[in-house]
């Protein structure tokens, strides 16, 4: 199983994501934002957390229009897997691969702490290692994590069982407590919390690890 992790100027969770993929058994290639093509045979693309391009204009907006993101979109349109965490989620909404947008936190504060997260669906390669309704504790670290989508989009996400994670105690004002969503084909996941920061015993717990393990496991046998 081959994962590519995109590196933008300002990415800061790219190495953590690489380690999490590697610990789950994946081969990982780091891909610079000015590259125009993915390495051959990439199964999943990871878009890491950070502050790509300094969050200029809107968070994720400049990254979403960088050369490499055209091949991210192509990969997703061909049915490939894409995982966007934190800034990666913001980039995915800006590319249009996921609906909605991440607004400034309702109380305007940058929030960095471990939070409780409810797994809302086990029906995806990312969440199949968890039980539906299971509560896991992993960190958030963001200023713009306030998920917004219009009523019709929210209704559609719910009807199609595409809300992957909800906050147990909403920290940022996100509509419907949404912390992570899936694409219609369930192969693109965007989430604000950081599973890669709770994936090694030295992190304090390893509750984020299953996300990488179930993804890698599923793709390795596919």
């Amino acid at each position: 199983m081959h994962a590519a992790v995109i590196v933008f100027p300002g990415s800061n969770c790219d190495r953590d994501m690489k380690v999490a993929f590697e610990n789950a058994g994946a081969k990982v290639s780091m891909v610079w934002h000015k590259d125009t093509e993915m390495p051959a045979g990439v199964d999943v693309i990871g878009i890491p957390g950070g502050f790509s391009f300094g969050d200029y204009l809107r968070c994720g907006a400049i990254a979403a229009n960088s050369p490499i993101c055209r091949s991210v979109v192509t990969h997703a349109e061909k049915g490939g897997y894409v995982l966007g965490i934190c800034n990666g989620f913001q980039v995915l909404t800006e590319t249009g691969l996921l609906p909605g947008v991440l607004l400034r936190n309702a109380r305007l504060k940058y929030i960095c702490k471990a939070i409780d997260l409810k797994v809302e669906t086990a029906d995806s390669a990312y969440t199949s290692g968890y039980a539906q309704g299971e509560v896991i504790t992993i960190p958030i670290a963001h200023h713009d994590g306030n998920y917004f989508a219009d009523d019709a989009t929210l209704a559609q996400l719910k009807a199609e069982d595409r809300v992957a994670f909800r906050y147990v105690d909403n920290p940022n004002g996100a509509r419907d407590d949404i912390a992570g969503i899936l694409s219609a084909n369930r192969r693109v996941l965007g989430m604000m919390p950081h599973p890669e920061r709770m994936a090694d015993p030295v992190h304090g717990n390893t509750e984020g690890r299953k996300l990488f393990e179930s993804l890698v496991g599923q793709l390795a046998t596919a």
């Binding site: 229009n65 607004l103 400034r104 306030n146 917004f148």
Partner: protein
């Protein structure tokens, strides 16, 4: 030509920054401010000399990058 783009959050989208400005104005003694919406202004210098073409191009820029039309509206002035 010069273009000026105004980008604002759409009505109905919470603007926490605007709300913070409203509270700060209240604490400075400016009573009666019932709402504040914060947006941005983007100025562009264009080589284009045809006004209609410039407007069409800048509109395309807004759709593709300058505004996120999920939450923002925009207007374009050419001069």
């Amino acid at each position: 030509m010069k273009a000026r783009v105004h980008v604002m959050l759409k009505n109905g989208v919470l603007d926490p920054q605007g709300e913070a400005v409203r509270h700060a104005l209240g604490s400075l003694g400016f009573d009666g401010v019932e709402g504040v919406r914060q947006g941005k202004v983007i100025e562009l210098d264009l080589a284009e000399t045809d006004k209609a073409k410039a407007e069409a191009t800048v509109t395309e820029m807004c759709e593709k990058l300058l505004a996120n039309t999920v939450i923002e509206s925009y207007s374009v002035e050419i001069s």
